[in-house]
Subunit: 462 residues, 2 copies
Amino acid sequence: MYASRLTHGLITVKLREFGLLRDARLNVVEPHAPFKVGSFRVEFFRVCHSIPDAMGIALTTPLGMVIHTGDFKIDHTPADGLRTDFAELAALTSDGVLLMFSDSTYAEVEGYTASEQVVGEALDRVIGEAEGRVMVATFASLISRIQQVVNAAVKHGRKVTVVGRSMSNNVKMALNMGYLEAPQGTIVSMNEARQLPHDQVVIVATGSQGEPTSALVRIANGEHQDIEIVPGDTVVISASPIPGNEKVVSKTIDNLYRKGANVLYSRIALVHVHGHGSQEELKMMLSLIKPRFFVPVHGEYRHLVAHRALAQSMGIPAERTFVLEDGDVLELDESEGHVTGKVPAGHVFIDGNTLMHMHSPVINERRRLAKDGIVAVMITLSRASGDPLEDPGFVSSGFVELEDSQELFEKTSKVVLRTLDLEAGAPLDLKDVQARVSDSVSKYLYEETKRRPTVVTVVQQV
Amino acid sequence: MYASRLTHGLITVKLREFGLLRDARLNVVEPHAPFKVGSFRVEFFRVCHSIPDAMGIALTTPLGMVIHTGDFKIDHTPADGLRTDFAELAALTSDGVLLMFSDSTYAEVEGYTASEQVVGEALDRVIGEAEGRVMVATFASLISRIQQVVNAAVKHGRKVTVVGRSMSNNVKMALNMGYLEAPQGTIVSMNEARQLPHDQVVIVATGSQGEPTSALVRIANGEHQDIEIVPGDTVVISASPIPGNEKVVSKTIDNLYRKGANVLYSRIALVHVHGHGSQEELKMMLSLIKPRFFVPVHGEYRHLVAHRALAQSMGIPAERTFVLEDGDVLELDESEGHVTGKVPAGHVFIDGNTLMHMHSPVINERRRLAKDGIVAVMITLSRASGDPLEDPGFVSSGFVELEDSQELFEKTSKVVLRTLDLEAGAPLDLKDVQARVSDSVSKYLYEETKRRPTVVTVVQQV
């Protein structure tokens, strides 16, 4: 793995957590310090994103240069003061670029993405004006955002305490590596913070995505061991919900309001900007790099389509732009390119200690169980006569409440015995008995409950 | 039920669909045609929303007038041309208003909500400029939006066909009642539409929320019997995703792009405006009605809080504004109000034909089943000796794939027999045997698979 210093630090924290650090081969790279990998020359260049040390990659291949922008936006006033160096990037790509991969996440949004500075100013205002505690929730990796919070806290005479394991680990690492700067005594433990008047405290926490076990969500639900919301508290959610998290984030905000907090979030205050370029920035990058071929990357399919349209509007012919999906193989020569195949790519499904097929029938079984539960029927038959030796046994899970089940299963028992009765005399085929019993029980339970639990039958002969 | 003419029509369609029309007592009301209900005088007044015939309610009680705005926005150029009549509303409320309930859905959004006219113009442009078919997906109840589509289609020489059952029913009803106007021959059947050149067709469809069985989603997945997307088609999603639907809507858009359609949706084109007032409109309503007490309604808790803040900024004292949750009982007299209790209110959970408790243990069982599946163990013991008469039987669902299960259950069988062995000689307690077997099987399966399926054991004695 090749990574910037900060990324190296973040990866190290994670690998150590999972006991994998010793097996990993990590290399730290600096911008504009080229090196060789096989027959490729690799040079990283600085871009702006929501985290310091973000970089794009220039890969010189025998056929020409390939640029991968990584996640980027064009921020003239980034939190760490390090701008994208356009002059250096222009020099690097001056011999022409064969192919560019560029970040598409915000390709459907017109104009420019706001600068991190806007957020710094908003956080400063909120922390300066708050009369009680201020809690800021953000991604554990948003070191620049945490720096902005620390700056505002220092300016307004507050101490900062960090809650949430991943956030604490990252802050410790970033302080050690110099990516986060705080005057001695600014960052204090939770115990110290609890001794301070509320107007001298800022809490930085995880949970901006409504993750159920995160600090913020436990605080919002009144389940956190150290922190209880009181009226006068201000909570800032310095992040926007990742698609799919909207409802849990919204519920967290509601619960914080219920407890009397004042809550600020991206919809009503400028407390977050994202780290991806909008259309004008993407055009700027296309204009600077002038690639022969273009592949939009990062984002949903519609973002790739929107980015391709931008590239075409900048003069790259349609046949030299490619909207690819994971696993697509693109083959290029100097003059043309084609998608020539597909390699396996995508999610891997690990269940317990087993690697499962992505479309395992087990998944459908679980879906059905989740919907209507299960009823297991057990029958003991005489090997000699084929007759049942006992009334059928039933167990169920996720089907009916206990107090309703006894009467229902007594009636079902009669259905099973009638089903077995039809078999009398015929030679016993256990598979057939199982299937008939399951079938008649399913039908009977549907009639009675209008539900379709999974029905499984075990037959034993003694 | 008291409803406007159009609402009456929409309700009738639904009630008929579920066979409940005969049992319903429906009354049609007109704006400013007061009537009595018990000791209350009821008068409806016209407001603008995304559907024609939207109305608020003025309820004259012995203590004073209560206003409920219903969903509203202030639209000076609504699709049906019927504006909110402020003069009439002012006259109606001129003796003072005790209490107002007002729509809070967009209380966190500054400024004004755009007019329906903006959407009409955008749809006209899209339909005018498209070279192939145009498909517009929206809510089946958005009759005004459908009118805008019909107007644009007529203007640009296209026919309109409707897909999706609820959409077809509503269009038929709205045409009959005069809420939807279309020149003879404009609305055609799918069969007729299929005979026409693509540039003479507009399709109106359900599915704007990504509902899995809706017309649009089946079309996007290539599973619709009548309509297949071809390059050149334009699809307009004239709705925004309701919170929680973001991911399915986004997947639908991606699939339409994959099939070569050009897709327009609210994020990238002005093809939808919602029907709720933003802050300036809510203030206008507060300013016009000047209620003594204020209760924000509709929307999440944070919207109610934001609306309460608006009301306070307009001079209503904090102690006369109430953020209520479902079931809260508010008691008012002329001078003050208090929340005095709580009545049962909320969701009802109907499972099959049973009314279940909202926190039924069955739900947790289903959650567990969905996560790790189930293993049922069956044991037949001799009533005389207590010894097992057969090897234990196993069935599982949602746990392991079939080819892995045989070996695993053979080994588990030995574990069960060892567990039963310990029991030898002791008097047989079936409950205890069950618990011990389930316990040892759970432990063993966790060791082997690192999964924790529900384990149920049935014991029979013969």
